[in-house]
């Protein structure tokens, strides 16, 4: 199965489970969790079921396109369900069947993995799902988001698309994966992988990035003060990506690191609170809608 088909299959499958199909969010981020479609929407009492593909940038993982397993940017298929359905494990396993993975011919396991993202004041409990020893999905029950207690609890499924594809297509090297007939990951992503790695580790303008971080942070705060939650959150994402670029270049010391993380976390916390307050002000519209 080609990557394109995998994505279509997962989209169809989760759409049939009443998930809203969203598109990737247009600000750089390290993981699908950071999309406001997950991070903000998983807050508060309103039900929320959504699925989307998220290109995720991890500057420190850039390897100039030379490493068979690591990428500056990989793809996650993200499923969010709030409240978490009682049969979520079965739903998930059926999605694997939809991808052609017959559980009787494999070893599928749920291995404890507790997830934490201090930058976003977020934490959850769950598993990494193993397929014959390979981690293919992060399965998490959110317990805390933006420093707030998650209630009701949202469940998040994050499929690593390239990981899963390398298994399904039986390829050793991520660049050999077929995206669609006649087109490989290498065709599409090799050049950007190389260039982004070179930029991140060698060419990025450190002074500019430091300045940008401060500017984004300032704008996030200012926007927040005006009660504009979503624009403010976009700037938090920009702060986070800028920090990742600086960190990957090794220009942030261990002690400074904690400082930067706590600055981003404070912003995220304030936004989380403001988001819930704003939704409450609106009377939690999606809650009422469900009741109708």
């Amino acid at each position: 199965m080609k990557i394109q088909e995998m994505i279509l299959t997962l989209q169809k499958y989760w759409s049939d489970q009443d998930c809203i199909l969203m598109q990737a969010y247009d600000v750089e981020k390290g993981a699908g969790t950071m999309s406001p479609m997950t991070l903000l929407r998983s807050l508060g009492p309103e039900p929320w079921n959504v699925a989307y593909v998220e290109p995720s940038r991890r500057p420190a993982d850039g390897r100039y396109g030379q490493n068979p397993n690591r990428l500056y940017q990989h793809h996650q298929f993200q499923v969010i369900m709030k409240p978490s359905p009682d049969n979520i494990q079965e739903l998930y396993l059926d999605s694997l069947k939809a991808l052609g993975i017959n559980p009787l011919e494999h070893d599928i396991r749920f291995v404890e993995d507790n997830w934490e993202n201090p930058t976003l004041g977020a934490a959850g409990l769950g598993w990494e799902v193993w397929l014959d020893g390979m981690e293919i999905t992060q399965f998490t029950y959110f317990q805390q988001i933006g420093g707030l207690e998650a209630s009701p609890v949202t469940v998040e499924l994050t499929y690593g698309i390239e990981r899963l594809a390398s298994y399904i297509q039986d390829k050793e090297n991520v660049f050999d994966l077929e995206w669609t007939d006649g087109v490989t990951v290498k065709d599409i992503f090799f050049q950007p992988e190389y260039e982004h790695s070179k930029y991140t580790f060698e060419e990025s303008n450190t002074d500019m990035l430091f300045k940008l971080f401060s500017m984004y942070e300032k704008e996030a705060k200012a926007t927040m003060e005006k009660g504009l939650v979503f624009p403010s959150y976009d700037y938090v994402l920009k702060c986070s990506h800028t920090f990742n670029l600086l960190d990957a270049k090794g220009v942030i010391s261990v002690t400074e690191r904690t400082g930067y993380i706590s600055r981003i976390r404070n912003l995220a916390r304030n936004i989380a609170k403001a988001y819930v307050a704003e939704r409450e002000g609106l009377g939690f519209p999606m809650l009422t809608k469900e009741a109708e």
């Binding site: 009682d86 011919e105 404890e112 014959d132 261990v254 002690t255």
Partner: protein
């Protein structure tokens, strides 16, 4: 007729590390619960897998054991009137208990007579009481709990079903919207939903559905499978108990398999291979009969052997990916030199005020150099120790350590050898982190021991100098552990260096480097207290008691091996009758000396033979004591002091210390003071609670 009872909590996959403790809680809580309810039974068996915790209670009595209860009423004084008839109070009491005055009997409690009735508590039907098991389920404690959906219950993982059976009857209760039933589920993929006809069918029904509910049986199957492979291939597969325990709790139906990886990966440091297999993939590494790593691994599948080859291939692929990643790092790392990495350390902060790792390393080098001089090491050993200090942290910026942080030092050793360093130097790079925990081994060679002490001294003195003294449970730099490490190394290597001199040389270094720090005397006090507590800990480890510890540490920690020897001899002497006279003499001198600070002696002022003799003996003892002391002969040093006992006793018998003549008095006090000072140098004998039998 007795009946059987089964409770099973069905869960989403529990973390493997939670399961054993949860199962043992379940069984002990069930016992207590049955006892408290007065429900008799024959036996309790527990079961556990990643998806279930269960108890089977056999031959449960159908009713609670009945109970005869004594109910105490008012005192007889109140219960009977003057004529001896029952009062209203007595009648009221009996009525309240559903009895009549006929049932009254009396008993005396603490001199007062009271009236009593006996109440028969009839046992209830067991079935009615069983739903309170809900409380047992909810009371199981896990290391970490979670919430799910809209439930307020916090539990290890979401509860998905509860089987609760009294023979064939369902015991009704509900937890987190899950209602009890008579069904359970087999293996996630190989089994199906099972309707349980009776509690005793439980483990057999499960087995038919590919669930081995007894963890010991799963463990046994895994061990058997491994032994089978060992025999078949002539391998040696060491079974790590921690790993075995984890693996048995990751599967409901174990099938052991063997996989392989490319032989070329064996060129990687073996720790990298082992960590990748054991920690990351939960495989058992395979060795040859002579203990060499072979390019195979043993894994355990949760399921049967259907399409086992696909599973093996998948696992091999994952390991291959991990190892090729490691190999990529290994090859990248080899492209550079030690100097390249050392230069990188100039940009890694150790601690804000204490500078970079590179700054730290240069201090460690200087401490190492001075230590080597004090220990009179050969020029060659000294050079190796200094080289080891220079490169002790060079592996930190390598890709490999970045990836496998737990291998810091070990990677350093491997790389150092590859880069052509001497093998003692390489070994010291690995060992300078030792001891990592309380029972850990110590550095093997002298170079490693010196660098280990130097590195730890730098961290401890550095951190405390800038106000990072550990408080309560806060010890982020592990200073406590490191200071114990220093003392243990000093002790085991029997180094002739006092702890205080180590602090001197390190503090001087920080002063020379003009590092901004707190008041130097205050820091010194804190350091001495800090190490004093650790020395106490070490002394307690060799069973010294608090008073002896106080007596040997009263002035300084000194040379730790010698201090330990002193504590050991004093621990013996405090129970030794023959030592009584010595101890009394010396303690008397110490106590008197506390009243004076005179210390000038004029031998011409001695009047009596006994004081002259004491002075003579003192002079002789002083020389021999100093000699024993400098050779750290604790027993001998104490023996020398003991020679003073008789002359001291004579002195006190024949002389008035507080003579009227000032000069004579001061002269006598001075003599006592000098003896006390000499004794004090050994230990504060007055701090010991002597326990000689008389």
């Amino acid at each position: 007729m007795a009946k059987d009872v089964l409770f099973e909590i069905g869960l989403e996959e529990l973390p493997a590390r939670f399961i054993d403790k949860a199962e043992s809680q379940l069984i002990s809580k069930t016992k207590d619960w049955l006892d408290e309810l007065r429900i008799s039974y024959d036996s309790i068996t527990s079961f556990s897998t990643p998806r279930r915790l269960a108890v089977l209670i056999k031959d449960v009595a159908e009713t609670q054991t009945s109970l005869e209860e004594e109910v105490k009423g008012p005192a007889v004084k109140i219960a009977k009137d003057d004529e001896g008839s029952w009062t209203k109070a007595a009648i009221g009491f009996t009525k309240g208990q559903g009895k009549t005055v006929e049932d009254i009997y009396t008993k005396e409690i603490k001199g007062t007579k009271y009236i009593f009735v006996k109440n028969q508590v009839i046992g209830k039907d067991t079935y009615e009481l069983l739903p309170t098991f809900k409380g047992i389920i909810e009371s199981i404690q896990f290391p970490k709990n979670m919430r799910w959906a809209e439930q307020s219950l916090r539990y290890a993982r979401p509860i998905r079903w509860i089987a609760a059976l009294y023979e064939d009857q369902v015991i009704p209760f509900e937890i987190a919207d899950v209602t009890t039933s008579n069904f359970t589920f087999g293996h996630r993929f190989l089994g199906s939903k099972i309707i349980l006809k009776s509690p005793t069918d439980y483990q057999f029904d499960l087995k038919d559905n590919y669930v081995i509910s007894d963890p010991n049986e799963r463990e046994h199957l895994i061990t058997e499978g491994i032994i089978q492979i060992e025999k078949e291939y002539g391998f040696q597969i060491p079974i790590d108990n921690g790993l075995l325990n984890e693996v048995r709790n990751l599967v409901e139906y174990p099938t052991v398999f063997i996989g392989s990886y490319e032989e070329s990966f064996l060129k990687l440091p073996s720790d990298v291979l082992i960590i990748s297999m054991k920690e990351h993939q939960r495989y058992f590494p395979v060795k040859s009969k002579n203990g060499e790593l072979l390019p195979y691994f043993v894994g355990v599948r949760n399921g049967d052997d259907k399409a086992l080859n696909t599973v093996i291939k998948g696992n091999e692929k994952v390991l291959h990916a991990r190892l090729s990643d490691a190999q990529f790092f290994f090859e990248e790392d080899q492209k550079h030199s030690i100097d390249y990495y050392l230069e990188k350390l100039e940009r890694v902060v150790f601690q804000e005020k204490l500078g970079t790792i590179s700054d730290k390393v240069s201090r460690v080098v200087r401490i190492t150099d001075q230590l080597a001089q004090q220990l009179n090491l050969s020029e060659e050993t000294k050079e190796k120790a200094v080289r080891a200090a220079e490169i002790c942290k060079f592996d930190l910026p390598t890709n490999m350590v970045n990836e496998f942080t737990e291998l810091q030092g070990i990677i350093g050793q491997t790389y150092a050898l590859n880069f052509g360093e001497a093998k003692e130097v390489a070994k010291a790079v690995a060992d300078h982190y030792l001891p990592v925990h309380a029972d850990d081994r110590l550095p093997e060679n002298i170079e490693g021991a010196i660098v280990s002490v130097a590195d730890k001294l730098d961290t401890i003195v550095g951190c405390i100098s800038v106000g990072l003294t550990p408080t309560g449970s806060q010890d982020p730099y592990g200073l406590r552990r490191q200071s114990v490490g220093i003392l243990k190394i000093l002790k085991e290597n029997k180094w002739n260096i006092t702890v205080e001199s180590l602090l001197d040389l390190t503090q001087n270094l920080f002063r020379d480097q003009a590092i901004e720090q707190n008041d130097i005397n205050k820091v010194r006090n804190e350091l001495e207290q800090f190490f004093g507590l650790r020395a106490t800990y070490i002394l307690k480890e060799v069973k010294a008691e608090q008073d002896v510890i106080q007596s040997v540490l009263h002035q300084e920690i000194g040379i730790i091996a010698y201090t330990l020897a002193k504590a050991s001899i004093l621990s013996r002497k405090r129970n030794d009758h023959d030592f009584k006279s010595v101890q009394q003499a010396l303690v008397r001198v110490i106590n008197l000396s506390k009243k004076t600070n005179q210390n000038t002696i004029n031998p011409d002022l001695f009047e009596t033979p006994s004081e002259k003799e004491l002075y003579q003996v003192y002079l002789a003892v002083k020389d021999s004591y100093i000699n024993s002391n400098s050779n750290q002969q604790a027993e001998d040093a104490l023996l020398q002091l003991g020679k003073l006992a008789e002359p001291i006793h004579n002195f006190f018998e024949h002389n008035m210390v507080m003579a009227d003549d000032d000069q004579i008095r001061n002269n006598r006090l001075s003599l006592l003071n000098l003896i006390a000072t000499l004794t004090f140098d050994f230990a504060d004998l007055s701090a010991i609670e002597w326990k000689q039998q008389f």
